[in-house]
Each structure stands twice: as structure tokens, then as C-alpha cells.
């Protein structure tokens, strides 16, 4: 990420920067007029947003507002996506991105009939195949298990773990291979306050020291305070794309929750105004 060519050869090329994925100035995710249709419903309605690199961007909004669909679009598993969506300098879903993005779905997606370590061993073997990488894989697996604080349960079957522990196994899988972008769909649901604090510390560590970008969804507004930037969503639209501080200042609110409610009221009022003028 930091190794763009310096020196004389690195002068201005003049060409479009679309095919140079490692230019640090480009945001990790850039969406323009992004629309997703699922069955009869339009889940995302022409949204625009950017996710800056090396930061934690929180995606907040009530259940069913389109957070998961937006994340699936970024990861490239969502069908019927229209508009522009660039991820790490490539169109979303590009095969090159499959090793560069870590993704955690809302429901833990791990094998219940394997132990924690066996789960991670398998996914690590998919990311870095071959016997030559065996040592590196073992290192990564051990580190991921330590990161999510499951060392004492490494040899337990995932199916025998509690819900919170299973979702941490799922998170550990996403940490394998040191991805540049982590997309986490409600990673802290059902966790106790201590674990939630520890995980948020881990997220900040991943962003700060490892330089990765995180896109984290939540419907718990107090977690918003721990993000660098926020995307507030409601009914398939993005109400705000700003820092927590700027949001509170702009809406004269004490908390992000109050700011969100303020923006929702504004949006409803604007909708009514549009209807009456029609």
C-alpha cells in the first residue's frame, strides 16, 4: 500500500488511474448511483458514498435499511447491482479482490462439525494453497485465533460454542491473509460489553497498525462513536456521510443517536414537502 514507485520513473503518467489499484489517494470503496434490486424491492436507491483507506467506517441504520445488501455489493456477492462501485481500485466482484477482502456475514458462516482450528486451517488453505505456505498458514491461524481471544477454545467444535464465540470464529476467518479491506456485518451482536470493547480495540489496531480499511455495520448507535467516519442509512438511502463529530455539530446533538433521529425527521419532512408541492 505504501510502496508506490518513487523517483524519476514515477512521474505523472497522464493516463487514467483506474488500472493502478495501489494509488493510496483513491478511497477503498467509491460508489456512485449504486442501485440494487432484490425481487420486487429496490433495496438501494442510487446511493453515493466513499470509504476512505486505513480508517473505520461505520454503517448505521435500522434493520432492513439495506446495510447487508450494501456490504454484499462491496464484497461482490450481490446480484443485480447497477451504478458504479469501485473497491480497492477495481470494480466490485473482480477476481483479484477475492484475496484482498475479508468478509463476515451477519450469521456466523463456519463449519459446526469442525473445531475452531480446523475451520481456520481450511480457509487458510484456500487463501494460501500449497505445502510451501504451510508454516505461514499455521502462523496466521494462530494469530487469528489469538486476535479474537479464542485460544482456549481452539480445539472445541464450532457447533459446541456459544453464539458470540461462533461469530468470533467467523471473524477470525476474515482476518486470515491480512486483507486490505474488512467488511464486517454486525460483528458485535450478542457479545458482552467486555468483548465488544476488546473487539473494537482490535478493529482500531487493524486499522491503525496494519493499515487496513474497515467497513463495519451496526444498529447499535453507541458503537458509532468509535468509528472514524459514519454512513447513516435509512430505507435504502444514505442520510449522511461524515465524521461523528461533524454530524453532532451539524445537527446540534449530543449523541450520534440524536443526530440520526434529527436527520430522519428532516428526511421525513422533506419527503412530505415534496408530496405537497406535487
Amino acid at each position: 500500500m505504501m510502496n508506490y514507485a518513487p523517483g524519476p520513473s514515477g512521474g505523472p503518467t497522464g493516463g487514467p488511474s483506474g488500472d493502478s489499484p495501489d494509488v493510496p489517494d483513491t478511497p477503498a470503496v467509491r460508489a456512485a448511483d449504486l442501485t440494487v434490486v432484490r425481487g420486487p424491492r429496490t433495496v438501494l436507491r442510487g446511493v453515493d458514498f466513499t470509504v476512505p483507506r486505513g480508517q473505520i467506517t461505520g454503517l448505521l441504520g435500522p434493520s432492513g435499511c439495506g446495510k447487508s445488501t450494501l456490504m454484499r455489493s462491496v464484497v461482490g456477492t450481490q446480484a443485480k447491482v447497477t451504478g458504479t462501485l469501485d473497491v480497492l481500485g477495481r470494480p466490485a466482484g473482480h477476481p483479484d479482490l477475492r484475496t484482498r477482502i475479508g468478509y463476515v456475514t451477519q450469521a456466523p458462516s463456519v463449519y459446526d462439525d469442525l473445531t475452531v482450528r480446523q475451520n481456520l486451517d481450511y480457509f487458510a488453505a484456500i487463501l494460501r494453497p500449497g505445502r510451501a505456505a504451510a508454516d505461514r498458514r499455521r502462523e496466521e491461524v494462530t494469530r487469528a485465533i489469538t486476535d479474537v481471544d479464542l485460544t482456549s477454545h481452539a480445539d472445541a467444535l464450532a457447533g459446541n460454542l456459544s453464539g458470540g464465540q461462533r461469530s468470533r470464529v467467523s471473524l477470525a476467518v476474515a482476518l486470515l491473509g491480512a486483507p486490505e479491506l474488512l467488511v464486517l456485518d454486525e460483528p458485535t451482536v450478542g457479545l458482552d460489553p467486555v468483548l465488544r470493547r476488546d473487539l473494537w480495540n482490535l478493529f482500531h489496531d487493524i486499522a491503525g497498525r496494519r493499515g487496513a480499511t474497515l467497513l463495519i455495520s451496526s444498529h447499535v448507535m453507541d458503537e458509532a462513536e468509535r468509528c472514524h467516519r459514519l454512513l447513516l442509512m435509512r430505507e435504502g438511502e444514505i442520510l449522511a456521510d461524515d465524521t461523528p463529530d461533524a454530524l453532532r455539530t451539524r445537527t446540534h446533538s449530543d449523541t450520534v443517536e440524536a443526530a440520526f433521529l434529527h436527520l430522519v425527521d428532516e428526511a421525513i419532512a422533506a419527503g412530505r414537502a415534496k408530496e405537497t408541492t406535487r
Binding site: 456477492t77 446480484a79 447491482v81 468478509y103 481450511y122 488453505a125 487463501l127 494460501r128 467444535l157
Partner: protein, 261 residues
């Protein structure tokens, strides 16, 4: 942790079929089964028990046991692998692990080949046990080589795996997946020549049985039963079963979608 170290050993890119990813997948499927010893025991013992039962049901007519027994040696692996695979793949879909894998650099071919390899291995053990029991303890009278019986059994197992992978794409729940067993397997069972020779059937049914792969599986077994050498018919039967298995595996791969609604 500097950016350059991650750069030099960046994860390997995606390709449609890589040996190490296929092997890792097969090992994972077998590892999952190892945590479920009861399923393994059922897989291995039920065909043997059925053959044992059959032997004494036809105690007075050993010729009938020879005919039906040889056919069943081909049918068991097909049915069991069909069931196991369709449920396993359905679980992979509903647990979200399939979506996760397809968002990773795993080729669809890796997944399909991994499953085929894992269940093919199980099928070899299952068929070896059943064939061994039938030939040496139950007195099944086979003229040809037992290795050819094993070969047909293995191909049948692959066909079962392929069909299971394919139909699991159309099952939204375990209930539906189990119902595909009678829907896909029973008609073939009735028409494959197990109950009555195929040329005794109504001509329309005979034509239908001509295009069903299980007919050739049973036919191949009967060729081994009656002939010492590999006959031309046997070679044809084996090729047809293998071709069908491959075709259905490709169809199964086509049902795996990286993007879903």
C-alpha cells in the same frame, strides 16, 4: 508488520481448479465426517446388512441372489452418495459457508472436485466392504473380476455425488432435499432392470430406461457377473456412467453462483 512483507507473499490468485485447493476441500469434507462417526458407521454397514438380508431372503434361489446382489452392489453407492452429498451441499448453502468460499479465491471446480474426491474415497471403502462380503461370505457367484465390480461401484458413487450436488441447488430445505431421493432415484430403480429385464417393459418405458444412467450401471454389473473378460457392452456401460457423472458434475458447477440475490 510492514507492507512489503505482505506484498511479497500475497495470497495466491483464483483459478478454476487447483490441486491443493481441491485436496484441502476433500480433506475438510472427510474431517467433518470424522466428527460424525455414526454417519460413517451407517454408510459402511447398511449396504452389508442389506446384502446379508437379501442372501437369506433368496435362500432357496441362489441365481436370483446373484442377479439382484450384483445390481445392488452398483445401486447402493449411488443412493448413499446421492443422499450424503445433497444434504452436505445444502448445509453448505444454508450455513453461509458456500457464499464465504465463493467470495474467496476458490474455484467452483475445486469445490465440486473436492466433494467428488472425498465421497469417492468413502464409496471405495463402502463398495470394497460390500463386494468382499458378497463374494467371499455370501457366495455371490461372479464370473468376472471383482476389480471391475469395484470400478463400476466407484463410478456409480461419483454419479450419485454428481446428482446430489446438482439437485441440492433446487432444494431450499432438508425436507425438499430428502424428497429428491424418491423423485430422482426411484424411477431409475424401477426402470434399471433390477425387477424385470428391460426388454420386457412397455416399449415406451424401455426407451426411457435407455436414457437413464442407472440402467447402464446395473447392466455393467451384470456383464461382470456373466463374463470373464471385459466385454464391449461393459466398456460402453462404464463410459456412459462416467460420462453422465461428468456431465452432471458440470451442471452442478453451473448452479454455484458467486453473486446471488
Amino acid at each position: 508488520m510492514s507492507a512489503t512483507t505482505t506484498e511479497t507473499t500475497a495470497p495466491a490468485p483464483a483459478r478454476s481448479l487447483t490441486a491443493s485447493r481441491t485436496l484441502a476441500t476433500a480433506a475438510r469434507v472427510l474431517r467433518q465426517l470424522r466428527h460424525d462417526p455414526r454417519t460413517i458407521a451407517l454408510l459402511m454397514l447398511i449396504p452389508c446388512l442389506m446384502l446379508f438380508l437379501l442372501r437369506y431372503v433368496f435362500d432357496g434361489s441362489p441365481r436370483t441372489f446373484d442377479n439382484i446382489g450384483a445390481s445392488l452392489l452398483g445401486i447402493f453407492p449411488l443412493i448413499t452418495m446421492f443422499l450424503v452429498t445433497s444434504i452436505a451441499t445444502l448445509r453448505e448453502r444454508t450455513s453461509g459457508t458456500l457464499e464465504r468460499l465463493l467470495a474467496m479465491p476458490l474455484g467452483k471446480g475445486d469445490l465440486i472436485a473436492g466433494y467428488a474426491l472425498a465421497f469417492g474415497t468413502l464409496a471405495i471403502i463402502q463398495s470394497a466392504l460390500a463386494t468382499g462380503l458378497a463374494l467371499w461370505f455370501l457366495g455371490l457367484d461372479v464370473v468376472g473380476s471383482p476389480w471391475l465390480l469395484l470400478l463400476v461401484a466407484l463410478l456409480d458413487a461419483l454419479l450419485g455425488t454428481a446428482l446430489g450436488l446438482f439437485v441440492s441447488a433446487f432444494a431450499a430445505s432438508e425436507f425438499q432435499a430428502v424428497q429428491f431421493m424418491p423423485a430422482v432415484i426411484f424411477p431409475q430403480l424401477l426402470l434399471c432392470g433390477l425387477f424385470t429385464p428391460r426388454d420386457n417393459m412397455h416399449p415406451a418405458l424401455e426407451t426411457v430406461s435407455d436414457v437413464l444412467p442407472m440402467s447402464y450401471a446395473v447392466d455393467g454389473m451384470n456383464e461382470v457377473l456373466k463374463h470373464t473378460d471385459m466385454t464391449a457392452t461393459f466398456v460402453r456401460d462404464v463410459l456412459i456412467v462416467a460420462g453422465c457423472a461428468l456431465l452432471v458434475l458440470f451442471l452442478g458447477a453451473a448452479t454455484l453462483r458467486r453473486r446471488t440475490t
